[in-house]
Symmetry: C2
Subunit: 207 residues, 2 copies
């Protein structure tokens, strides 16, 4: 299996070169020659591994997001309470973004642009990633930890929107600070939107 092994190595080298260059110079300004040089190949050889530049762009975040999805279950396992799960989700995701800023940059800045994004494997994986949040809000609503009238889909929009917003700004500002800086405060702010109104009084009410 030395053949397929070396094939995997070359493929990985191409992916990593592309990732680096896309994130540094942007998708448009990165040429196939750039990528293949960086990977120590000719342009033509690259086409043995990928159908083209766009295929390459779509492959990178695909790997990252499906790995995220695999990890998420495990991370939330055993955590009790909707708010605690929500906190874990946020801290986990932000950490993952800080650990893989190049992947994050490609997902957040270059993918949405792409006309095929909605038909992508990445898109459906991202949707899955976010659907966990809907479940968490649903649980919170049911247990009375959160508002009885809470709409889980809209709560997810607030949560994901805020998360994506601070991540996008961080990426545009070239990751010059830590995403964790105000995370606690912003989390508490959001939770106030979701939590039942009078936590010190009885939150169980009969219809």
């Amino acid at each position: 299996m030395a053949k397929s092994n070396s094939k995997e190595k070359t493929r990985d080298r191409i992916i990593n070169s592309a990732k680096k260059l896309f994130a540094e110079q942007g998708y448009q300004k990165t040429t196939i020659v750039d990528i293949s040089r960086q990977a120590g190949l000719s342009e033509a050889a690259l086409y043995e591994y990928f159908q083209g530049k766009e295929d390459l762009l779509l492959t990178i975040p695909d790997l990252w997001v499906s790995e995220l999805l695999r990890d998420l279950d495990e991370q939330l396992f055993g955590i009790k309470g909707a708010v605690n799960k929500l906190r874990k989700y946020l801290w986990w995701y932000i950490r993952r973004v800080e650990q893989a800023p190049l992947d994050a940059k490609i997902v957040y800045l270059f993918l949405k642009t792409n006309a095929n994004f909605l038909n992508t494997e990445v898109y459906s994986n991202v949707k899955n990633l976010y659907s966990y949040l809907v479940d968490i809000f649903e649980e919170g609503r049911k247990t009375g930890e959160m508002k009885p009238e809470l709409n889980p889909l809209l709560a997810r929009d607030v949560f994901v929107g805020t998360m994506d917003h601070i991540i996008t700004r961080w990426l545009l500002k070239d990751m010059t600070y830590s995403l964790f800086e105000n995370l606690e405060t912003i989390f508490e702010l959001m939770v106030d939107a979701f939590k039942a109104n009078h936590p010190t009084l009885t939150s169980q009410s009969i219809l």
Copy 2:
């Protein structure tokens, strides 16, 4: 002034053609030939009006966003109370997006990608657009209408993030529904994050 008049007309024709094609097919897939044909010109003539394709891309949202900025002051004039201002801001902005979906699409989907975005006039105008929100939250905090410990910058992040998120999804889904559908509910959800905790009790407390 027939000369400069006709010049303006041609320029506008180019802008509108580009706007339409960029929004329909994306920036990359739209060619200069496409745009100039649509505008009834040769490619070369287009270069009399714009420095190139990227210049064209950046000009379109520049016009839209500076017009928004001019309008905003007037729209908020005479509205009393931070929550009322916030509501007006949201309804105004969402309406503007629905009225100019092509411009919105270019701002939201193609601009962030661009490496020069942060050095753009558009960027500084968008920042100005958002800075109104910070003022509103500051006012709300001072008058006691909102939490005394509210961080106006973070509140803005929640508000803008949520707004941008629902707009981006709407654009990706090809504007097949109305942005106003759940707006009331989502607004109330967010306001719960900002408002003082016990509105029925005294909200003035001494440190």
